[in-house]
Protein backbone atom coordinates (compact mmCIF):
# COMPACT_ATOMS: atom_id res chain seq x y z
CA UNK A 1 0.00 0.00 0.00
CA UNK A 2 1.42 3.41 -0.92
CA UNK A 3 2.46 5.60 2.04
CA UNK A 4 -0.23 7.97 3.23
CA UNK A 5 1.92 10.94 2.41
CA UNK A 6 4.85 11.47 0.03
CA UNK A 7 8.20 11.39 1.79
CA UNK A 8 9.81 14.01 -0.35
CA UNK A 9 8.68 16.75 -2.66
CA UNK A 10 11.33 16.01 -5.30
CA UNK A 11 9.02 14.17 -7.66
CA UNK A 12 6.35 16.84 -7.50
CA UNK A 13 8.91 19.62 -7.77
CA UNK A 14 10.23 18.03 -10.92
CA UNK A 15 6.78 18.12 -12.48
CA UNK A 16 5.55 21.60 -11.66
CA UNK A 17 6.16 24.59 -13.87
CA UNK A 18 9.11 26.57 -12.71
CA UNK A 19 10.11 30.19 -12.87
CA UNK A 20 13.45 31.96 -12.60
CA UNK A 21 14.42 32.21 -8.92
CA UNK A 22 15.70 35.73 -9.39
CA UNK A 23 12.30 36.78 -10.64
CA UNK A 24 10.75 35.53 -7.41
CA UNK A 25 13.43 37.17 -5.25
CA UNK A 26 13.23 40.51 -7.02
CA UNK A 27 9.41 40.54 -7.13
CA UNK A 28 9.23 39.77 -3.43
CA UNK A 29 11.79 42.44 -2.74
CA UNK A 30 9.74 44.94 -4.70
CA UNK A 31 6.65 44.06 -2.64
CA UNK A 32 8.48 44.59 0.65
CA UNK A 33 10.03 47.81 -0.60
CA UNK A 34 6.64 49.16 -1.65
CA UNK A 35 5.05 48.19 1.66
CA UNK A 36 7.82 50.02 3.51
CA UNK A 37 7.21 53.11 1.44
CA UNK A 38 3.44 52.97 1.84
CA UNK A 39 3.21 52.01 5.48
CA UNK A 40 6.47 53.40 6.91
CA UNK A 41 6.04 51.58 10.23
CA UNK A 42 8.02 48.34 10.37
CA UNK A 43 5.41 46.69 12.59
CA UNK A 44 2.68 47.52 10.08
CA UNK A 45 4.72 46.01 7.29
CA UNK A 46 5.23 42.84 9.32
CA UNK A 47 1.49 42.61 9.89
CA UNK A 48 0.68 43.26 6.25
CA UNK A 49 3.15 40.62 5.05
CA UNK A 50 1.60 38.13 7.43
CA UNK A 51 -1.87 38.97 6.15
CA UNK A 52 -0.76 38.59 2.53
CA UNK A 53 0.81 35.28 3.43
CA UNK A 54 -2.42 34.17 5.08
CA UNK A 55 -4.41 34.96 1.93
CA UNK A 56 -1.91 33.00 -0.12
CA UNK A 57 -1.94 30.10 2.34
CA UNK A 58 -5.69 29.55 2.23
CA UNK A 59 -5.49 29.03 -1.53
CA UNK A 60 -2.12 27.31 -1.63
CA UNK A 61 -3.40 24.47 0.52
CA UNK A 62 -5.71 23.21 -2.23
CA UNK A 63 -2.96 23.21 -4.81
CA UNK A 64 -0.68 21.46 -2.37
CA UNK A 65 -3.25 18.78 -1.55
CA UNK A 66 -4.12 18.25 -5.21
CA UNK A 67 -0.51 17.83 -6.33
CA UNK A 68 0.70 15.76 -3.42
CA UNK A 69 -2.35 13.48 -3.19
CA UNK A 70 -2.54 13.72 0.55
CA UNK A 71 -5.80 12.55 2.11
CA UNK A 72 -5.19 12.71 5.83
CA UNK A 73 -4.29 15.57 8.08
CA UNK A 74 -4.72 14.44 11.63
CA UNK A 75 -1.32 14.13 13.26
CA UNK A 76 0.62 17.34 13.81
CA UNK A 77 3.98 15.55 13.67
CA UNK A 78 3.19 14.13 10.27
CA UNK A 79 1.90 17.51 9.13
CA UNK A 80 5.09 19.29 10.16
CA UNK A 81 7.19 16.73 8.29
CA UNK A 82 5.05 17.10 5.21
CA UNK A 83 5.28 20.89 5.26
CA UNK A 84 9.04 20.78 5.63
CA UNK A 85 9.83 18.06 3.12
CA UNK A 86 7.08 18.36 0.54
CA UNK A 87 5.55 21.81 0.91
CA UNK A 88 8.67 23.92 1.01
CA UNK A 89 10.24 21.83 -1.75
CA UNK A 90 7.22 22.19 -4.00
CA UNK A 91 6.84 25.92 -3.68
CA UNK A 92 10.26 27.29 -2.82
CA UNK A 93 12.51 24.58 -4.16
CA UNK A 94 14.26 24.12 -0.82
CA UNK A 95 13.76 21.52 1.91
CA UNK A 96 13.39 22.48 5.52
CA UNK A 97 13.98 20.28 8.52
CA UNK A 98 11.81 19.83 11.58
CA UNK A 99 13.52 20.32 14.94
CA UNK A 100 12.87 21.24 18.57
CA UNK A 101 9.76 19.22 19.28
CA UNK A 102 8.29 19.95 22.65
CA UNK A 103 7.16 17.16 24.99
CA UNK A 104 3.49 17.28 24.04
CA UNK A 105 4.20 17.30 20.32
CA UNK A 106 2.33 20.54 19.70
CA UNK A 107 5.23 22.86 19.00
CA UNK A 108 8.10 22.48 16.58
CA UNK A 109 10.53 24.49 14.51
CA UNK A 110 11.02 24.46 10.77
CA UNK A 111 14.65 25.12 9.97
CA UNK A 112 15.52 26.62 6.61
CA UNK A 113 19.18 26.76 5.68
CA UNK A 114 18.54 28.16 2.26
CA UNK A 115 15.89 30.76 1.49
CA UNK A 116 15.43 32.05 -2.06
CA UNK A 117 13.50 35.12 -0.88
CA UNK A 118 16.53 36.69 0.77
CA UNK A 119 19.16 36.41 -1.93
CA UNK A 120 20.93 39.77 -2.31
CA UNK A 121 19.12 41.21 0.75
CA UNK A 122 20.69 43.11 3.62
CA UNK A 123 18.59 44.96 6.15
CA UNK A 124 19.56 48.61 6.62
CA UNK A 125 19.47 50.30 10.04
CA UNK A 126 16.17 51.97 9.27
CA UNK A 127 14.46 48.58 8.99
CA UNK A 128 15.45 47.01 12.26
CA UNK A 129 12.54 44.95 13.53
CA UNK A 130 11.42 43.98 10.06
CA UNK A 131 10.72 40.30 9.53
CA UNK A 132 11.55 40.25 5.86
CA UNK A 133 10.15 36.77 5.22
CA UNK A 134 7.03 37.24 7.26
CA UNK A 135 4.95 36.22 4.28
CA UNK A 136 6.08 32.65 4.94
CA UNK A 137 4.68 32.64 8.44
CA UNK A 138 1.33 33.82 7.07
CA UNK A 139 1.35 31.14 4.38
CA UNK A 140 1.93 28.34 6.89
CA UNK A 141 -0.70 29.71 9.26
CA UNK A 142 -3.29 30.13 6.50
CA UNK A 143 -2.69 26.73 4.99
CA UNK A 144 -2.90 24.94 8.34
CA UNK A 145 -6.08 26.74 9.25
CA UNK A 146 -7.78 25.27 6.17
CA UNK A 147 -6.96 21.77 7.39
CA UNK A 148 -8.53 22.38 10.77
CA UNK A 149 -5.36 23.31 12.65
CA UNK A 150 -5.22 26.66 14.40
CA UNK A 151 -1.58 27.61 14.82
CA UNK A 152 0.68 30.43 15.89
CA UNK A 153 3.70 30.90 13.67
CA UNK A 154 6.63 33.08 14.69
CA UNK A 155 10.24 33.64 13.63
CA UNK A 156 12.83 32.38 16.09
CA UNK A 157 15.94 32.85 13.98
CA UNK A 158 16.38 35.18 11.05
CA UNK A 159 19.55 35.24 8.97
CA UNK A 160 19.03 38.87 8.05
CA UNK A 161 19.29 39.69 11.73
CA UNK A 162 22.55 37.88 12.22
CA UNK A 163 21.49 34.31 13.03
CA UNK A 164 22.86 31.31 11.17
CA UNK A 165 19.62 30.04 9.67
CA UNK A 166 15.92 30.77 9.34
CA UNK A 167 13.82 29.11 12.02
CA UNK A 168 10.06 29.28 12.04
CA UNK A 169 8.30 28.13 15.17
CA UNK A 170 4.93 26.53 14.57
CA UNK A 171 2.77 26.07 17.64
CA UNK A 172 -0.47 24.13 17.37
CA UNK A 173 -3.15 25.90 19.38
CA UNK A 174 -6.00 23.54 18.67
CA UNK A 175 -7.48 21.24 16.09
CA UNK A 176 -10.95 22.32 15.07
CA UNK A 177 -12.84 19.49 13.37
CA UNK A 178 -15.65 20.32 10.97
CA UNK A 179 -18.94 21.15 12.62
CA UNK A 180 -22.31 20.87 10.93
CA UNK A 181 -22.75 24.42 9.65
CA UNK A 182 -26.53 24.74 9.34
CA UNK A 183 -28.77 25.57 12.26
CA UNK A 184 -31.20 22.81 13.15
CA UNK A 185 -34.38 24.75 12.58
CA UNK A 186 -33.71 25.37 8.87
Amino acid sequence: MAPAFPRSGDAIFANVERVNAELLTLTYGAIVRQLLTDLEEVEEVNKQLDQMGYNIGIRLIDEFLAKSNITRCVDFRETAEVIAKVGFKMFLGVTASVTSWDTEGTCCSLLLEDNPLVDFVELPDTCQGLYYCNILSGVVRGALEMVSMKTEVTWVKDMLRGDDAFELQVKLLKQVPEEYPYKDDE
Partner: protein
Protein backbone atom coordinates in the same frame (compact mmCIF):
# COMPACT_ATOMS: atom_id res chain seq x y z
CA UNK B 1 -19.50 41.00 -10.37
CA UNK B 2 -23.12 40.59 -11.30
CA UNK B 3 -25.17 37.82 -9.78
CA UNK B 4 -28.15 36.78 -11.89
CA UNK B 5 -31.22 36.08 -9.80
CA UNK B 6 -31.06 33.71 -6.85
CA UNK B 7 -29.28 34.44 -3.62
CA UNK B 8 -25.57 34.72 -3.17
CA UNK B 9 -25.39 31.46 -1.30
CA UNK B 10 -26.62 29.14 -4.02
CA UNK B 11 -26.49 30.06 -7.69
CA UNK B 12 -29.65 29.19 -9.61
CA UNK B 13 -29.06 26.10 -11.73
CA UNK B 14 -27.99 26.76 -15.30
CA UNK B 15 -29.93 25.23 -18.18
CA UNK B 16 -28.77 21.71 -19.00
CA UNK B 17 -25.88 22.06 -21.38
CA UNK B 18 -26.00 18.91 -23.43
CA UNK B 19 -28.32 15.96 -23.50
CA UNK B 20 -26.83 12.53 -23.66
CA UNK B 21 -24.23 13.59 -21.14
CA UNK B 22 -22.94 10.88 -18.93
CA UNK B 23 -23.42 12.65 -15.65
CA UNK B 24 -26.59 13.98 -14.12
CA UNK B 25 -25.31 16.69 -11.84
CA UNK B 26 -22.41 17.87 -9.77
CA UNK B 27 -21.97 19.80 -6.54
CA UNK B 28 -18.90 21.36 -4.99
CA UNK B 29 -19.10 22.41 -1.33
CA UNK B 30 -16.53 23.99 0.92
CA UNK B 31 -15.97 23.19 4.58
CA UNK B 32 -18.58 25.69 5.74
CA UNK B 33 -21.38 24.17 3.69
CA UNK B 34 -21.36 26.90 1.07
CA UNK B 35 -22.28 25.46 -2.31
CA UNK B 36 -19.48 26.69 -4.53
CA UNK B 37 -20.78 25.10 -7.67
CA UNK B 38 -23.83 23.27 -8.88
CA UNK B 39 -23.84 21.95 -12.43
CA UNK B 40 -26.78 20.14 -13.92
CA UNK B 41 -26.70 18.16 -17.12
CA UNK B 42 -29.55 15.75 -16.87
CA UNK B 43 -32.06 16.09 -14.08
CA UNK B 44 -35.67 15.72 -15.22
CA UNK B 45 -37.39 16.04 -11.86
CA UNK B 46 -36.66 18.85 -9.45
CA UNK B 47 -38.78 19.01 -6.32
CA UNK B 48 -36.83 21.27 -3.96
CA UNK B 49 -35.65 24.82 -4.42
CA UNK B 50 -31.89 25.21 -4.82
CA UNK B 51 -31.18 26.30 -1.27
CA UNK B 52 -33.00 23.33 0.22
CA UNK B 53 -31.46 21.00 -2.29
CA UNK B 54 -27.93 22.10 -1.43
CA UNK B 55 -28.54 21.89 2.29
CA UNK B 56 -30.04 18.45 1.91
CA UNK B 57 -27.10 17.22 -0.12
CA UNK B 58 -24.55 18.66 2.28
CA UNK B 59 -26.37 17.33 5.31
CA UNK B 60 -26.70 13.90 3.75
CA UNK B 61 -23.00 13.64 3.08
CA UNK B 62 -22.01 15.02 6.44
CA UNK B 63 -24.16 12.39 8.15
CA UNK B 64 -23.00 9.60 5.86
CA UNK B 65 -19.38 10.36 6.57
CA UNK B 66 -20.01 10.32 10.27
CA UNK B 67 -22.04 7.12 10.09
CA UNK B 68 -19.57 5.23 7.92
CA UNK B 69 -16.70 6.24 10.16
CA UNK B 70 -18.47 5.02 13.27
CA UNK B 71 -19.53 1.72 11.72
CA UNK B 72 -16.02 0.92 10.59
CA UNK B 73 -15.21 -2.58 11.86
CA UNK B 74 -11.48 -2.12 11.44
CA UNK B 75 -11.27 1.01 13.51
CA UNK B 76 -10.37 0.92 17.20
CA UNK B 77 -12.04 4.20 18.14
CA UNK B 78 -15.03 4.23 20.44
CA UNK B 79 -16.23 7.77 19.77
CA UNK B 80 -19.90 8.69 19.77
CA UNK B 81 -21.93 9.17 16.64
CA UNK B 82 -22.00 12.79 15.55
CA UNK B 83 -18.62 13.72 17.00
CA UNK B 84 -16.95 15.91 14.38
CA UNK B 85 -14.07 14.31 12.54
CA UNK B 86 -10.68 15.66 11.58
CA UNK B 87 -9.83 15.49 7.87
CA UNK B 88 -8.83 11.98 6.94
CA UNK B 89 -9.66 10.55 10.35
CA UNK B 90 -11.55 7.30 10.17
CA UNK B 91 -12.48 5.67 6.92
CA UNK B 92 -13.50 7.72 3.91
CA UNK B 93 -16.75 6.92 2.17
CA UNK B 94 -16.57 7.38 -1.58
CA UNK B 95 -19.78 6.36 -3.29
CA UNK B 96 -23.25 4.89 -3.02
CA UNK B 97 -25.38 3.35 -5.69
CA UNK B 98 -29.11 2.96 -6.14
CA UNK B 99 -30.98 1.33 -9.00
CA UNK B 100 -31.32 4.68 -10.80
CA UNK B 101 -28.11 6.58 -10.02
CA UNK B 102 -24.68 6.45 -8.47
CA UNK B 103 -23.35 9.19 -6.25
CA UNK B 104 -19.58 9.57 -6.05
CA UNK B 105 -17.99 11.69 -3.38
CA UNK B 106 -14.54 13.05 -2.67
CA UNK B 107 -13.38 15.24 0.17
CA UNK B 108 -10.05 16.97 0.40
CA UNK B 109 -8.40 17.58 3.80
CA UNK B 110 -9.16 21.27 3.27
CA UNK B 111 -12.86 20.47 3.31
CA UNK B 112 -13.62 20.81 -0.39
CA UNK B 113 -16.28 18.22 -1.20
CA UNK B 114 -16.94 17.17 -4.76
CA UNK B 115 -20.10 15.20 -5.50
CA UNK B 116 -20.87 13.69 -8.87
CA UNK B 117 -24.17 11.97 -9.63
CA UNK B 118 -24.06 9.63 -12.62
CA UNK B 119 -25.91 6.67 -14.07
CA UNK B 120 -25.72 3.53 -11.93
CA UNK B 121 -23.38 1.56 -14.18
CA UNK B 122 -20.54 4.07 -13.78
CA UNK B 123 -17.23 2.59 -12.69
CA UNK B 124 -15.17 3.85 -9.76
CA UNK B 125 -14.93 7.58 -10.28
CA UNK B 126 -12.35 8.39 -7.62
CA UNK B 127 -9.65 9.21 -10.15
CA UNK B 128 -12.09 11.40 -12.07
CA UNK B 129 -13.01 13.29 -8.93
CA UNK B 130 -9.32 13.85 -8.23
CA UNK B 131 -8.96 15.21 -11.72
CA UNK B 132 -11.88 17.55 -11.15
CA UNK B 133 -10.22 18.69 -7.92
CA UNK B 134 -7.12 19.49 -9.95
CA UNK B 135 -9.26 21.45 -12.40
CA UNK B 136 -10.74 23.35 -9.46
CA UNK B 137 -7.23 24.23 -8.28
CA UNK B 138 -6.08 25.36 -11.69
CA UNK B 139 -9.07 27.41 -12.78
CA UNK B 140 -10.59 28.61 -9.54
CA UNK B 141 -8.11 28.67 -6.68
CA UNK B 142 -5.31 30.11 -8.73
CA UNK B 143 -7.52 32.91 -10.02
CA UNK B 144 -6.55 35.94 -7.90
CA UNK B 145 -9.94 37.54 -8.52
CA UNK B 146 -11.79 34.66 -6.91
CA UNK B 147 -12.63 35.00 -3.23
CA UNK B 148 -12.46 31.61 -1.50
CA UNK B 149 -15.79 30.64 0.02
CA UNK B 150 -17.94 32.30 -2.62
CA UNK B 151 -19.79 30.60 -5.49
CA UNK B 152 -17.66 29.93 -8.55
CA UNK B 153 -18.40 32.07 -11.59
CA UNK B 154 -15.74 30.98 -14.03
CA UNK B 155 -16.86 30.28 -17.59
CA UNK B 156 -13.55 28.62 -18.34
CA UNK B 157 -13.93 26.25 -15.43
CA UNK B 158 -17.49 25.41 -16.44
CA UNK B 159 -16.54 24.69 -20.04
CA UNK B 160 -13.55 22.54 -19.13
CA UNK B 161 -15.66 20.68 -16.61
CA UNK B 162 -18.44 20.02 -19.13
CA UNK B 163 -15.92 18.75 -21.63
CA UNK B 164 -14.32 16.45 -19.13
CA UNK B 165 -17.57 15.05 -17.79
CA UNK B 166 -18.83 14.41 -21.30
CA UNK B 167 -15.85 12.16 -21.81
CA UNK B 168 -16.43 10.06 -18.70
CA UNK B 169 -17.34 6.43 -19.23
Amino acid sequence: MQFFGGSEISPSPPLPTASGNNAHMMYIFNRNGVCLLYREWNRPLRTLDSNQDHKLMFGLLFSLKSLTAKMDPSSAEKGNLGVPQLPGQGCSFHSFRTNTYKLSFMESPSGIKIILVTHPKASDLRESLKYIYNLYVEYVVKNPLYTPGTPIRSELFNTTLDQYVRGLG
